[in-house]
Symmetry: D2
Subunit: 252 residues, 4 copies
């Protein structure tokens, strides 16, 4: 927390610690993906977020504890998650650790194929299944909740020339706030920007980001992610107490 006094007024600047988690496998095994993201999607996202002033670190699947040690998570305000090929190999203990941190106030931004990650499915309580198609088709993400800070600085829609289609029905609980709906050239729609609140934690699912397209080089997509980081890092309230409770009033 940085405090700045201007005249009689004091402003607080809260630094935001972001950890970008990427399984980082496609980029090391698929030349097409490597050509788009030579250092991994996490590094491209990190570079994109650089101008926004966050404290950024990255973590990947192959690191010890997937790079998500207790220390790292305790120092993380918002965790960004991209996974696909090895969802099932993510250690249940680490998933549990992330889960506890989300319930206790860490923000979580789940990108694209992360819909099938253990952590997202656990938090949603549903299968998070959907329709998909890789057909190099055009998509357009329409803002349907322009009051939400995640849409700040975005036009009425974001157009991507090529993305993977994700289509309804998306097997998640109805989002607490539905922010983007996507149109796909092939005839489908998708709830592509979904905000959820779980105890003290804020969660945002954002659909774009197939590994074979340069989506995370797109400034508008990065701006949405940056906005989501700020939103997910916004302050929360009291940590609840659970269990036996003494009465606050006399009971006759």
């Amino acid at each position: 927390m940085i405090k700045i006094t201007i005249g009689s007024k004091t402003f607080e600047i809260k630094e935001i610690n972001v950890t970008i988690w990427n399984e980082f496998i496609h980029e090391q095994t698929d030349p097409k993906v490597a050509s788009i993201y030579p250092e991994g999607m996490h590094m491209t996202i990190a570079e994109g977020l650089e101008p926004y002033g966050f404290n950024i670190r990255t973590a990947t699947f192959n690191e010890p504890e997937h790079g998500l040690t207790e220390n790292v998570l305790n120092e993380t305000d918002v965790l960004i998650w991209w996974g696909h090929l090895v969802h099932d190999q993510v250690d249940d203990q680490i998933v549990e650790r992330v889960y506890e941190r989300v319930l206790n106030g860490m923000g979580l931004i789940v990108l694209h194929s992360g819909h099938f990650s253990k952590i997202f499915k656990k938090l949603m309580g549903t299968t998070c299944d959907l329709k998909w198609r890789e057909a190099d088709e055009r998509t357009r993400l329409w803002v349907v909740d322009p009051a939400h800070p995640i849409t700040n600085g975005i036009d009425e829609y974001i157009e991507l020339e090529e993305e993977e289609m994700y289509g309804e029905f998306f097997d998640v609980p109805a989002p607490d706030r539905l922010i983007f709906i996507s149109w796909f050239q092939g005839g489908e729609v998708f709830r592509s920007g979904c905000a959820y609140y779980r105890r003290l934690g804020k969660i945002f699912y954002f659909q774009p980001g197939h590994e074979t397209y340069p989506t995370y080089h797109n400034e508008e997509i990065i701006k949405v992610i940056a906005n989501a980081v700020k939103w997910a890092a916004s302050p929360h309230g009291p940590t609840p107490t659970f269990g036996y409770a003494e009465p606050l009033e006399e009971i006759d």
Copy 2:
């Protein structure tokens, strides 16, 4: 389905198959509970629901497969769930079976201490923890969504002379519809009637029903449960298809 023709009009009556699941342990081990529910809470609830015309069966923890075989669940439109002492001993396979049935359209009504059941926690994606106190205190369940059919025939509130206090914060996702809020004499409030939709399934959590009080002998409480059965059995829509999808429109 019964079809009835009156003059030129045909009406359809859909019979509703209800399974009442009770762990049925308190009643067999605690004389106080046995005196209130000599045949078990499930039998009291079944008797209460009798006038509503449902086809009712019961199932309990100690039956093979906890009484919830594939056949039973496939023939169940709405499952009512009361559990407390042996949540952790409920077979994960049976939980998975119930889960699949809910996602595919079976209604689920979770009563009182069932908030900590495996099935409810799995569907919610949160811990479902709360505050509690057994102090023989008065509670009043206020209707806050009188458009909902679950409140049909109920007054503005239901008063119970003695219930266990459950207090906020209740660690569940914000309900898709919040129907009752409870006032407790000791100074707490609780979101005591919560409706959720998960894929094709409708879920209702209803707070009253501590084993040492005669709550399920109360006609208003039973009426809420009967209304919830009708609501949870109301028709659903298409079973979604997931996975690869051919385009519906030409992609240039």
Copy 3:
């Protein structure tokens, strides 16, 4: 209410009184519309709903009190509303009368250009504005809440070869339940099936139905309207009392 006893069980059949309101002007002034709906859209909708067993009457703008007398409204369980050209000429007193009935439990189904009706804007509290285009384009209404009874008997989507485009941003409150999202050939999406609850009343906005297309001759569209009638006519709870209230507990 019809009661039917089968063996020991008694079933209740609630007859549903539907009033279909249509301003009925396009059909009398535009030959193209007249050729599709020679007796008016209200009559086509009435014929479509005939097999569903409702008691149906119609009302139109030019009738005294627009056909919506106190008696008619008091006997109406669900009001269907289609208007376009003369929204502003609908008598404020009649709007107030409909408004009171909705808050007191009458269902309301607002079709297509009815989004700009006085009654819908008053109930929403927003302008209900949107984007539009008449370009004979294809649309597809995707089910995004298949647990909702309004989607019963519908496939994963409804396809209409030609409809008017309505596009986001749709200036309404986020629906209490979002049931359909539409895809349009020209590149837009729209929240085309929106359910709202206001005090005792249930409201459904449904986008299809431009006067120059035969949309209300489509059986799937009629099925959605029929489902919406049943849902909007489902029972509600207690009529609230307002104003000064005596305490229910002693205040020290």
Copy 4:
């Protein structure tokens, strides 16, 4: 906007312009109220908010245009509203002006008896009626959405020794987020902290603040209002365009 550079990082501080509107009549006509709020509730709230660094001005009913000129509203990020005796005498043109500003992104915080203000009723689309009682009774506002920034720095509940009772049913749309539920000594509950989104605007209704109690001298109450100001001033997204729209894709 103030920009601050620390090392390689630039932070932006957005100043927030708050206008506190108070009808300011009770304080000038009722000695009891005058003794609690000698300069008016707006001045007490302004003093309370002073440490939070907002740019604050006030406006009252008796000023020309109620103090809410075009200029004032255009320079207002968040408007706080307290009214009671003269709701009906507030000029419809000013209400319309505030309404337009809210839809276009100004935040609105409605306090206590402001539930019956023209602006709140217009935005809600319902009567906003409720139960009430002045009986010097204790109330406790429980946090039920601790992820929300409005609850930052607040304990699990706020206790007020004396407040007016407001009780359910509260005739508003179900809030987009329900943040506080109040317990009252006399036996009622109330949804006392309700957040709504309408187009670009964020709205917060907060129940406490009867004129005969020193509620706005309470630091926790002021903290909630300060949090609500920050939340309601948080950035919004694109201003929607409405009306005829050219297709974005070729239509065959």
